[in-house]
Amino acid sequence: MVTESRFRLWYRTAAGAAALAFLLLVGLAAVREESLNRWKEYQLSYRDTLAGRASSILQQQAALDYPIEVRQISIQGLQRTDRCVSCHVGIEDARMGKLPLPYRAHSGALLAAHPPERFGCTVCHGGIGRSLSRDESCGADQPDELHTPFVSLDAIESSCGRCHLAIFDTTLAGMPTLVRGITIFRREGCLGCHRVRGKGGSVGPDLTNEGSKSLRAFDLSRVSGPKTISNWMSQHFARPAEISPGSVMPAFALTDEEVGSLIVAVRGLFSSTLPPEYLVLPLVKEIKGATDPVEGREGFTLFCVACHGPEGKGKTYAEQPFGVPTLANQDFQSVASEEYLLFTLVEGRGGRMMASWSSRVSRLQAGELREIAGALRRWRSPFRATGTILQAGGSRSEGERVYGLLCAQCHGVRGEGGLAKGISNPDFLAMASDQFLLETIMKGRSNTAMPAWSRLTDGEMRNLLAFVRGLQTKPIRRELTGPGGSERVRGDPARGDSLFYYLCSRCHGRYGEGDLGPAVLNDDFLNAATDGFLVESISRGREHTPMFGWTQQARAGKKLVAADVSDVVAFMRSAPGPDFLPPGASAGNPKHGGELFRELCAQCHGGSGEGLKAPALNNQEFLGAATNGYLLATLTLGRRGTPMPSWGTGSPQHRQLTPGERKDLVAFVRSWQTIVIRSAALH
C-alpha cells in the first residue's frame, strides 16, 4: 500500500514521461514526414540541376525559387489524381532528355499529343497515381489484385489500345508494335474462336477486356520462369493445352518477335471505361456496334482462317482431332450450293468445332454473313458468260469422250437418264436453247446432284454441247429458243400456288425440289429457263416421260387452259423457298445402303457415321444443309485432293458403285436425319 503522495508522484511522473514521449514521437513523425521523403530529395536535387544549367541571373533566380512541394495532376474527366510528377519533375522539360530517371524528360514526342494536364500519367503507365511511394506507384512489388498495375515498358504500347485500338478499323500511327500485333491478330483469324466487342466466335473466352485483367485473373501455376502476364501469354500461344488444360486452341507457329507484338496487341484490348471524348471515333463506333460491315474476304480472314487456313485448305485429322474440311476444293465448291454454305455458316455443326455464326451469336449482320459465304466462291472456277463459248462450234466426238468420262455416270451412256434425268428427250432438246444447256452445265442445279462444271474449258463445253445436240431428234423450235421466247407471262401466283400444290408437287416435290420430276422451283433452273420454255413444257409435256401435256390431256379430271398455265408459271417465278432445305427424293433402299456403308465407308466415316478420319455424316446440321442431291454428287464425284474417292468412276483401290448402290447409300445416310432444322439463313 502506498500513500496518497506516492501515488501522486507516480502518476505525475508517468504522465510527464508519457507526455514527453508523446511530444518526442510527434516531433519524430513530423521530421519523418517533412524531411525524409524521396520526392523531396528528388526535387531538391532537381533544383540544383536547374540552377546549374541556368545561363542567366534571372534563370538562376527562377531556379532557386523552384517550389519544393507535392505536385499533382488532377483530371476531372478521368477521375484521377496523379502525383507522379512529384518525383518525375523534369517530365515536360525538353532540356532534361539526357538525365537519369526520375529527372528525365518524357521520351518521344508523345506528350505533345497527350498533354499531361489532360491525360495524367497512370492512364498509360498504370500504377497507383495517388501514392507518393515508389513501390506502390511504379515499383515491382505491386499488389497482385491491382486493376491497373504498372505496365512494364516493353508492353507499354498496349496502353495505347485503351483509346486507339479498333479491331475492324485500324488507324494506329506511331504504335508499330501494336499495329504489328493487331495485324497478326487479324491475320491468324483469332476472332474465329474469340469474341472481341461482340463480334467473333464463342469457342474461346471473350477477349474484349483482356488488357484490364490483373495478374490474379491468370492461372500461372503452369507457367515456367517469372510469373508475369506476358510470360503466360507467350507460353500460351506456343503450347495452349499445357498452360490451360482442356484448351482446344491450336498452337500458332509465330516467331518470337511476332509473339511479342501479339502480346502487346492482346493486352491492348480494353472495353474502354474512359469517357468517349478520349476515344477515337472508330473505337466508339465499335463499342456501339456501329462499324462498317466487314466485306467477304476480310471476314473470311478475320473469322475463319484459324481453323480453315488462309488458303481454305482445312486441317487433316492428324493435325486436329475433328479435322477441318477443306473449302478450297473444286469438287466441294461445285456441289455445295449458296444455301448449303450459308446454312452451315449460320447453323454451324452441332457437336463439332464449327460454331454457329448466326447474327444473334456472332453479331455479324446477315449481309456480312452472306458476303463471307460468297467469298468462298473464289475457290470455284468462275462462271463465265456463255456468249463467248457459243461463238464457235464443237466436236461431237470429243464431246462424247468428255461425256463418257464425266456425265454418263448419272445421265446414262446415251443420255437416257438413270440417276439423273434423261437429256436426250426430244421435246426437251427441241425447246432448250444452247444458252440453256450451257448455263445448266456451267452452273449446275443447286441442291440437286447436278454440280457446277465451270472447271471445264470453253472447248470442252462446246464439245459437250455438240454431243448433246447430236442426240436431238426433233427440230429445235426457234420461237421458244430465240429471243422472242423470253417474254414474261402474266398470271395469278396465288392460283398458281394451289394448282402447283395439287397437281405439280406430286412429281416435282412439295417445294419443287425434285422427286420423280426434276427440280423446277430451283433458282438455277428458273434463271436458265424462259417463260416460253416453262409454258411449253407444261402445256405439251415431255414424250415418253411421266410429264404429259397438261393442256392436252386430262388427268384426275383436270385439263388446264392457257390461263392456268400462266398462273403456274407466275407462281414459279415468285415462289419464295421454304426456311429449310428439303432433301429431295430418296428412292434408294436404306437397308442395302447400310450394308454398303459398313463395307465401304465405315473405316473413315465411322460405323454410325460419327466421323473418325472423315467428316461426321450423322450430324443433324450437316444433314439439314446437304440435300440428297449433294450427297449423291459427293459420292459420285468424290473430292479430289482428299481421301474421299470418286465412287462413280471407281479406282484401283475402290470399286465403281452402280447408280442403284449410290442411291441406296444416300438413302441410308438420310435415315440418320431425325429433325428438320429451319434456318433464318434461308429466308
Binding site: 501515488f7 505525475r12 508519457a18 513523425a29 513530423a30 507518393l132 499488389p143 489484385e145
Partner: protein, 474 residues
C-alpha cells in the same frame, strides 16, 4: 472555476498541495462542469494500478483519442464508393500528418476493442457487478457491443478489398438465422437475420447504401449513443459510491501502514474511510493513462502503417475473405454451422454475460482478483480444461475433417458442431465447478475463463491458421 484555476496555478508553482485547502481541492472537482463526474473523494484502494489496471480510464481515453482523430479524418474523408478509397489514400500520402492520424485511429480502434474486453473481464473477475452495480454491468455490456459495432462500421469506410470482403462476410454471418428458419420453412414469414442484414446494408449487397449507412452509424449514431451511455456508466459509478472495493479495504490500508494523512484530515470519519481528494491525484492518474495511451498509439502509428489494399472490387473476392479479428473466432465457428456459430453462440455469450449479476449474488470476494485463492485455482484449472477441450475439439474437426455433415440432415449439423459441442462442454464444466464449490460465483468464473480461453484459441485459429478456401495452414 476560480478554485480550479487557483489550484492549477498552485501546482505550477510547485506548491505542496497541503497548502491548498480541502475546500479548494474539493471545489475544483465538484464545481467544474467537465470534472464533476468525479466524486470529491476517492478511496485509495481504487487507485491501485494492480487492481483496476486502469482499464476503464484507458477505454475512455482511447475513445476520446478516437473521437478526436476521427473528427480530423472526417475533414478529408468522402463516403462515396467512387471517392472513398482515393480520399483515404490522399489522407495517407499528402495530407499533413494524415498518415499518423489515420494510423492512430486504426490502431486505437483495434486497441479499444481489446481494452474494453479486458475491462469487462477485470470487472467480472473482481466481482464488480454485485448489488447496486448490476445496472451498470448491463450498461457496460451494451457499451461493449457498441464498441464492436463502432469498429465494424469503421472497417468498411476505406472501401478497399480488405474492408469490402470483411463486411460482406460479416453481413452474411448476421443473416445466418436463415439456416434455422429454412429448416423450419418459415423464412418467408420470419427472417430476423435477413432483416438486420438488409437494414445494415441498405440492400442485398455491399454498395453505396451500405457505405452511407455505416458512415452514418460510425460518425453520428454510435458516437452520440456511446457518449450518452458513457455518461450513464460514470454516473452509475458515482451512485454506487465509487469502484467496487473490498469491504475491509480500510483494514488493508491500515495493515500495510505508513499512511500519512494530512493534518486537516484528522477528522475521525474521514480517517476511517481512507479516501483522498480526487484533485489532483485521480486527475494525474487519468492524465497518465491518457497520455500513455497517446504515446503508445503514436509509437505504433510511426512503426506500423494501417493497411490499405487494392480498391474494392466486387468481382474479385479475397481468398480467404476474413472478417475483422474480433469476428474471426465467430467466423471459424460459422465455417461449421452458420446459425450456431454466427447467431446462437454469440447470443448465448451476450445473454450469459448480461445474466452474470443476476445469477451470482454472492457478495464475497468483491474487489479481489478472482475473489479468493479458491477463485484463482478455479480459473487456472478452467483455463487448462478449456485449452484441452478446445484444442482437441478443433483437432478432431480439422484433422479428421468435419465432412459427415454433408450427408447428414441439416438439423443434425446445426445441433452437433464444434460451437455447440464446446458450449455444452463449457456449460457442463462450469456447472460441475459450481456444484463442487457450492458457489455460483465460481461457476461464473469457470464459464468465463472457458469462454475466454476457447475464444482466444479459435480466434488464433481464424487469424493465423486459415488460408485460401479456409483451409488449415500450419
Amino acid at each position: 472555476m476560480r478554485a480550479a484555476l487557483g489550484s492549477f496555478l498552485a501546482i505550477l508553482r510547485r506548491v505542496r498541495t497541503e497548502r491548498t485547502s480541502v475546500r479548494e481541492r474539493s471545489h475544483s472537482v465538484s464545481r467544474n462542469f467537465f470534472l464533476h463526474m468525479h466524486s470529491a473523494r476517492t478511496h485509495l484502494y481504487s487507485l491501485r494500478p494492480g487492481f483496476t489496471l486502469g482499464l476503464g480510464v484507458l477505454s475512455l481515453s482511447l475513445f476520446l483519442i478516437l473521437l478526436l482523430t476521427g473528427v480530423l479524418l472526417m475533414v478529408y474523408y468522402v463516403p462515396s464508393v467512387e471517392q472513398a478509397y482515393g480520399s483515404v489514400k490522399d489522407i495517407s500520402t499528402v495530407v499533413a500528418g494524415g498518415k499518423y492520424i489515420r494510423n492512430i485511429h486504426r490502431w486505437g480502434a483495434h486497441g479499444m476493442v481489446a481494452v474494453v474486453l479486458f475491462h469487462l473481464l477485470r470487472v467480472l473477475f473482481t466481482t464488480g457487478y454485485t448489488g447496486s452495480r448490476r445496472v451498470n454491468w448491463i450498461v457496460g455490456i451494451v457499451l461493449f457491443c457498441m464498441t464492436i459495432l463502432f469498429s465494424f462500421s469503421g472497417y468498411l469506410l476505406p472501401w478497399d478489398q480488405l474492408a469490402f470482403w470483411a463486411v460482406t462476410i460479416a453481413a452474411n454471418i448476421v443473416a445466418s438465422t436463415r439456416e434455422l428458419t429454412d429448416l423450419a420453412g418459415i423464412t418467408a414469414l420470419f427472417d430476423p437475420g435477413g432483416f438486420v442484414r438488409r437494414l445494415l446494408l441498405g440492400g442485398d449487397s455491399v454498395g453505396q447504401d451500405a457505405l452511407t449507412r455505416f458512415y452514418l452509424l460510425h460518425v453520428v449514431v454510435l458516437p452520440i449513443a456511446t457518449i450518452v451511455l458513457i455518461g450513464v456508466h460514470l454516473w452509475r459509478i458515482r451512485k454506487s459510491d465509487g469502484l467496487a472495493i473490498p469491504p475491509d479495504a480500510d483494514d488493508l490500508v491500515l495493515k500495510a501502514g505508513g499512511i500519512s494523512i494530512p493534518k486537516e484530515l484528522e477528522d475521525a470519519k474521514l480517517r476511517r474511510e481512507h479516501t483522498v481528494l480526487s484533485w489532483p491525484t485521480v486527475l494525474w492518474a487519468e492524465g497518465a493513462i491518457f497520455l500513455g495511451a497517446l504515446a503508445v498509439l503514436t509509437l505504433t502509428a510511426i512503426l506500423v502503417d494501417a493497411p490499405l489494399l487494392a480498391p474494392a472490387d466486387p468481382s474479385m473476392p479475397e481468398n480467404p475473405a476474413k472478417s475483422p479479428w474480433y469476428f474471426l473466432g465467430v467466423q471459424e465457428l460459422v465455417s461449421y454451422s452458420a446459425f450456431t456459430g454466427g447467431v446462437l453462440v454469440p447470443l448465448l455469450l451476450l445473454v450469459a454475460a448480461g445474466a452474470v449479476p443476476f445469477v451470482d449474488r454472492e457478495e464475497n470476494g468483491v474487489g479481489y482478483w478472482f475473489g479468493s485463492r479458491r477463485g484463482k485455482v478455479v480459473v487456472s484449472v478452467s483455463v487448462l480444461v478449456a485449452l484441452v477441450l478446445t484444442i482437441s475439439m478443433m483437432w478432431v474437426a480439422i484433422g479428421m475433417g468435419w465432412h459427415w455433415t454433408r450427408n447428414a440432415p441439416a438439423a443434425i449439423a446445426l445441433i452437433v458442431n464444434p460451437g455447440s459441442i464446446l458450449a455444452t462442454l463449457y456449460g457442463i464444466w462450469s456447472w460441475l465447478v459450481a456444484r463442487s464449490t457450492v458457489s455460483t460465483k465460481m461457476g461464473v468464473f469457470a464459464l468465463a475463463s472457458c469462454c475466454l480461453t476457447g475464444g482466444i484459441v479459435i480466434t488464433i485459429l481464424g487469424i493465423w491458421l486459415r488460408g485460401p478456401n479456409w483451409e488449415f495452414v500450419w
